[in-house]
Amino acid sequence: MTGRKNNRIKGHVDALATGFKYLAEPNRMTLNYPDESMNLKDNYRGFFAVKDKTCIGCSLCEIVCPPKAISMLDLTDAGGKKKKRPMIDWGLCIFCYFCVDICPTDAFQTSQVHDKAFYSETEYQTVHGEPMQYPYDYSKRPDYKEIYESFHDVAPDDPSAGSKKVVPKFDKKRGIKYEHPGQP
């Protein structure tokens, strides 16, 4: 492929023939997204939530979070004991999973949900209601207890849940093809 001498006519014929080859035998690898969606691998880094029971409030996730998307809340549980719990701002999160990996008790509930979009800031800043301030703006921090109650242990809702799930498979000829797990 690396030589420079080229027969021009052969070059044109080759180019047109290759074009025709792919036109006649389309080798598509398109995922019909809103109708189909991919089953991602288990270790895919998607949206996540906190398991309230497992969390010990050690603040390591807050310390290691590169974009400071996690800020610890001061809450009181049913028994009146003080506890700290992490709060995640999706407007900052970069899904590096440093928080998930550094957690000494494995208290993060991970998911493969990756395709969330929001109409307004209020939707993403807590996912459930009241907007959260910037994590470094601690002066204006409201009481997040209620928000947190609705947030932890809840797996993020998957926008593409209703679509047909397909599994991508490698193929020698087509690169990627999709298989429907439900079908034989």
Binding site: G19, Y22, P26, R28
Partner: protein, 354 residues
């Protein structure tokens, strides 16, 4: 008023079918406005779809899933029609507004002079059809230049300059190519050309392949297909002359290359692909609307469609040439090829082989 009514009543149904309906059919339906519009929608969709197929993907689909997104262009047109129309502050307003309209008008004009059936001679003077079509085709790009000039944008300016250079350099090959066919057919009447091909049983592309190839190259250049999509080159001059145009005016401007493509393809199928062969209407049928106009027209249209499909497919294969390379080809190799085509025609005629 009464006189007009009585005049209308005196026109019988037969004369209506014979004299009034065909020109209307010809201008409005085929190859006129309605077919142009449908062809436009279809061709732009086909271009995107063919490119997408070669590129391992689907192309426009969700607008009508069952039919492969065939009405995608309609959606684009509706969106363009109701968008804000912006006139740039520095533009020459009068020229800026009128240029797309004139462009459209001059782009459509050649269609009248391309015979798509033997019946054509009854309606329009066909004796000089080829002599009229050539200047009409050549004059259209002047309005592309006007488009770029009026926009007051440097990229439009560069784009229209490119268009001007290319038009001039590909005029002579076009004229030489058509001239060689005129010499071969011994007539500037395209209907005679078709009857020549039908009479000999050999299409023009076999008789003079050099002229056919040259005409194809000029066609690719004039309609801005790849690899000669130079005046609109997106990565160099954004959209060339059309950069500043928005809303419906952009739609009108961008449809011009496809209208040109259509008229060129009709001309190509008449000149080189045997016109309405294999349908050869008898003398009686040739003066009828169906036998003389619609059926031959359909055949010419299908041939033109195949040519157009090939040309839009080139987008999937080629990148674009540089302007100076394209100009060099136009003034150098293409002109030699043109002379060769003329010489071949002369040789054929003088040797009496055809």
């Amino acid at each position: 008023m009464i006189q007009i009514l009585s005049l209308l009543m005196s026109v019988s149904l037969v004369s209506f079918i014979e004299y009034i309906l065909p020109p209307i059919l010809y201008i409005i339906v085929f190859p006129g406005l309605i077919v142009v519009l449908l062809m436009l929608f279809f061709m732009i969709w086909l271009e995107r779809k063919v490119a997408a197929k070669t590129q391992l993907r689907f192309g426009p689909l969700y607008v009508s899933k069952r039919f492969g997104g065939v009405i995608q262009t309609v959606a684009d047109l509706i969106r363009f029609s109701f968008q804000e129309f912006i006139i740039p502050a520095g533009a020459d307003v009068f020229a800026y507004i009128q240029a797309p309209g004139l462009l459209m008008a001059f782009g459509l004009l050649p269609l009248i002079f391309i015979p798509v059936g033997p019946y054509y001679a009854n309606i329009f003077p066909a004796n000089y059809s080829l002599l009229i079509v050539v200047p009409l085709i050549i004059i259209t790009p002047i309005y592309v230049i006007l488009l770029g000039w009026a926009s007051d944008n440097k990229f439009s300016f560069v784009g229209s300059m490119r268009e001007a250079f290319l038009v001039i350099s590909y005029e002579i090959p076009l004229i030489l190519s058509i001239l060689s066919m005129i010499l071969l057919y011994g007539s500037v009447n395209a209907i005679n050309g078709v009857s020549f091909q039908i009479g000999r049983g050999i299409p023009g592309i076999v008789l003079n392949p050099i002229a056919a190839f040259l005409f194809l190259v000029v066609m690719i250049r004039t309609t801005g297909r790849f690899p000669f999509e130079i005046s609109e080159a997106e990565s160099e001059v954004v959209m060339g002359p059309y950069t500043e145009y928005s809303a419906l005016f952009f739609g009108i401007g961008m449809s011009l290359p496809y209208i040109e493509l259509y008229s060129f393809s009709l001309l190509f199928s008449v000149l080189f692909l045997g016109g309405w062969w294999p349908i050869v209407p008898s003398a009686a049928a040739a003066s009828g609307v169906v036998g003389g106009l619609l059926l031959p027209g359909l055949v010419v249209f299908i041939k033109a469609l195949i040519v157009m499909a090939f040309l839009v497919f080139l987008r999937a294969v080629y990148p674009r040439y540089r302007i100076d390379q394209a100009i060099t080809v136009g003034w150098d190799q293409a002109v030699y090829l043109g002379f060769a085509a003329v010489a071949l025609s002369m040789a054929l005629v003088w040797s009496g082989l055809v």
